[in-house]
Symmetry: C2
Subunit: 340 residues, 2 copies
DNA sequence: TTGTACGCGTTATCAA
DNA sequence: TTGATAACGCGTACAA
């Protein structure tokens, strides 16, 4: 027997024969209400199926218990498992999460900004690598925020992510220790901070191995499958072939493998390829991709923990938490082949 | 010069020297307010940077302009492009969308249900194939809802999706016309309606080609990569090999290709494989996967249009809109090989 | 221990 | 054409 309109606190109060104030107290500070009253209230809640109206509550309190997650591309294979870490940690502390998909569209950014400033979300997680577009224009102050997956360029927003330099260094060292001396780095970038750091790791490893700069091959790329294919074509045009490809991420590696296959090469015999990220597809490539695994769920968990801490007591200093990634050895790396 | 607290309608009213009622009117029914007054109000809005507080608005109106999208798995490659269709159509009509990730967890379902009944979202899009868990328990009435991607079993919720029967039939006919007579169907299901329909399409095509039932091979599977690999193993154990694999979806096809590759077969020479969905990775497999393409963005667009129509005038009858998918020919299908 | 009454920011009704 | 004011559902001083 349920009404069409959802039960309000008043319905409960009437049924329990108390005032709405008592109902509210019975819910939020149970020890401040007599045991017998509390029981009557709880019964009434059960009967009516009462659920506190989150909107009214947030309006009154000036804050909600929702966290907004802003992502430019939900299809990114790195996104979903990071999200799980974020969600689980939030739930464990009584917060819910909502996902906003910006598609890198400034207008959408603005829209979600309004959502925030209406108080419909209390905290913000950024996958975007930059503040929401229109943020400065709108002149709004951002709520407690943490960035994930890509640090926010030129800002004091805290960041939780993988240690790109160390991970990339591991990758390069793996190639080096397999005997490679001509290693190409595919996917260099001037704008993406994370990719820049991976390039640093590459250089660090090659420095340590005393590989002369003129024996390093660096190709730019935006980190997409297409950019990987393109890089292969560029290399073949220049006719400066490496024995191994170190890719800025797995998407690039997939493109490289693809391009190499298309040219009829037999991997990993002819060339070695290593990636970064360990996306789900990496296992199903042929050869299966040797790569650096991002601890995505752990990153999500830590990021949310940091955000909730900020929510509790607003600190000023920016924090950067870097998690160490692991090398995952599969089939795409072997010793170098001497080509004639 | 901006305040810390966001401007309210009262700030605007004070600055424009009118009442808050007039401000509200100037915004929503501009023709009902004198031109000069309207201009003063607009100026004041610009100066204060006023943005209407969505929460207060929704509380008063009893409805918001947000649509909640419930998905069990955001990582599903079918999800993101469907989402884009949904988002664009919603935006075009002044609605915003929020994504809820259930991970098939009943508790999470309940949580989002509360979100809905608080009026924080007005409409619902279901990717889940079932009503939110706990729906019956909570005894809540669902808002206007439409299902996408997977029809909701045993319910009168409208559905927009691909024509599975017709698509599967196209796939089977493609195999047939390439000369195959022993075609295995991988991924049969008793519970998933969409997969059942694909199986129907397979049977229809084979009926028409007068392939006797004893020459049909049907393997169950849950539509995952792993289930595809498993199916291959089963077939080899039984020693009843087909010349072609028709897979219930691309994930299964990837597993099948993988299993076949692992056994050292040369595709598509030794076996043909066809998928269903056309996920982004399909192009990058070797061989590139011939498959049936779901018009995902169009599905999203149509689904949202249907939902918004329901929002405008609540109809009773259930509708099912089926979009026709296309055959995408790539490299994974050739004529059958005679095996000794 | 409990109840009364105000305010959160809007929109809508009713007078003026 | 405009303004006062009542609701929307809730939390919490303050009073009892």
């Amino acid at each position: 027997m349920q009404n069409s309109a959802p039960a309000t606190i008043e319905d409960v109060a009437r049924l329990a024969e108390v005032s709405i104030a008592t109902v509210s107290r019975a819910i939020h500070t149970p020890d401040k209400v007599a045991k017998s009253t509390r029981q009557r209230v709880n019964q009434a809640i059960a009967i009516t199926g009462y659920t506190t109206n989150a909107m009214a509550r947030s309006l009154r309190m000036g804050r909600s218990n929702m966290i907004l997650i802003l992502a430019p591309d939900i299809g990114d294979p790195n996104f979903s498992s990071t999200l799980i870490g974020l969600e689980n940690e939030a739930r464990a502390h009584g917060y819910g999460v909502l996902i906003g998909h910006t598609q890198n569209d400034p207008e959408r950014g603005l829209e979600y900004l309004k959502f925030l400033s209406s108080g419909q979300a209390t905290g913000l997680v950024l996958f975007t690598g930059h503040e929401p577009f229109g943020h400065q224009v709108a002149g709004t102050r951002l709520p407690p925020t943490v960035a994930v997956f890509e640090p926010v360029f030129g800002s004091k927003i805290s960041y939780v992510g993988v240690d790109d330099v160390a991970g990339a260094r591991k990758a390069a060292e793996h190639l080096l220790s397999a005997g490679h001396r001509r290693i190409a780095f595919i996917g260099d970038s001037r704008t993406r901070l994370g990719h820049k750091r991976r390039r640093q790791g590459y250089d660090l490893a090659l420095d340590a191995a005393r590989i002369a700069p003129e024996n390093r091959i660096v190709i730019e790329g935006e980190g997409t499958i297409e950019s990987g294919r393109l890089a292969v074509e560029q290399l073949f045009m220049r006719d400066t072939l490496p024995t191994a490809f170190m890719c800025v991420n797995d998407a690039t590696a997939i493109g490289v493998i693809n391009g190499l296959n298309a040219r009829g090469y037999d991997l990993p015999k002819d060339f070695s390829v290593i990636g970064f990220d360990d996306v789900p597809q990496a296992t199903y490539l042929s050869p299966a991709l040797t790569t650096i695994r991002q601890p995505r769920t752990a990153i999500g968990k830590q990021a949310m923990a940091l955000l909730l801490a900020q929510l509790a007591e607003r600190p000023t200093e920016r924090r950067e938490i870097l998690l160490m990634p692991d090398l995952i050895v599969r089939g795409s790396v072997t010793g170098p082949t001497v080509r004639r």
